[in-house]
Symmetry: C2
């Protein structure tokens, strides 16, 4: 049976995963990429190298992030957060966020670690999605 | 190191998974849902109950489907197919597609099985995404 998740449960799905799918609009078309992230309060934090999604989000900052817990085709939960892309440019804020991402993802390589130590590396984009709406669905 | 997948490898990622994330545009915003699917030739087949994504895709049929194989934060592949949503309305075609989806997803319940046997059940939307462009990225 498919049913809606309440806000609390949808938020829990968003909080519990490490990988989300980030959706944005590229040349009028939907576009999806997997991201590692950290969810704090109403903000989802992540980082990226420059590329298609960053270019698109700078032009149109509306984004969604989707997270699911799939046990089987008939037992799953999916939550989506909708919000606005904001780039973090202050060096100390960048460093704090990158350090938190690094703590959460111990698999990150020494290269990434040095990026985190040097938050001002201009190639790495640090960003948040300010979530203003959350929805979720489950089937069980 | 992040690198682009060639068409062959990106296609293999799309063919090998069972769950894709379908992206569409809802009220000008990106929207993502997980779907079970079958990929044949250049078409991705799936089915759905009526709802937000179907309403949106009827209005704006451009869609993307994203599939990933994530071993770890630093070892993953992600492929995306872009294309056009098309509803399948012919009863025999619906029945054939639903039967194939059922064979691929043995977890589907007796309720779904009866839907597949009776392809003309009007509540179930059977659709394809006609893929016209495939891209892929890997990190390893």
């Amino acid at each position: 049976m498919i049913s809606m998740l309440n806000d609390h449960d949808a938020r829990k799905v968003l909080q519990s995963a490490h990988v989300a799918r980030l959706g944005c609009i590229v040349n009028g078309e939907p576009y999806i990429v997997p991201i590692s992230y950290n969810f704090e309060g109403d903000d989802l934090y992540s980082h990226s190298l420059p590329g298609t999604k960053i270019k698109a989000l700078r032009e149109n900052p509306r984004a969604c992030v989707q997270v699911d817990e799939i046990e089987s085709d008939l037992h799953w939960r999916s939550a989506m957060g909708f919000g606005k892309f904001e780039e973090i440019t202050k060096e100390n804020e960048r460093a704090t966020i990158l350090a938190k991402l690094l703590r959460r993802f111990p698999m990150l390589t020494p290269v990434e670690a040095s990026i985190a130590a040097d938050g001002c590396s201009p190639e790495v984009i640090v960003f948040r999605i300010r979530i203003d709406r959350i929805t979720g669905v489950s089937e069980s």
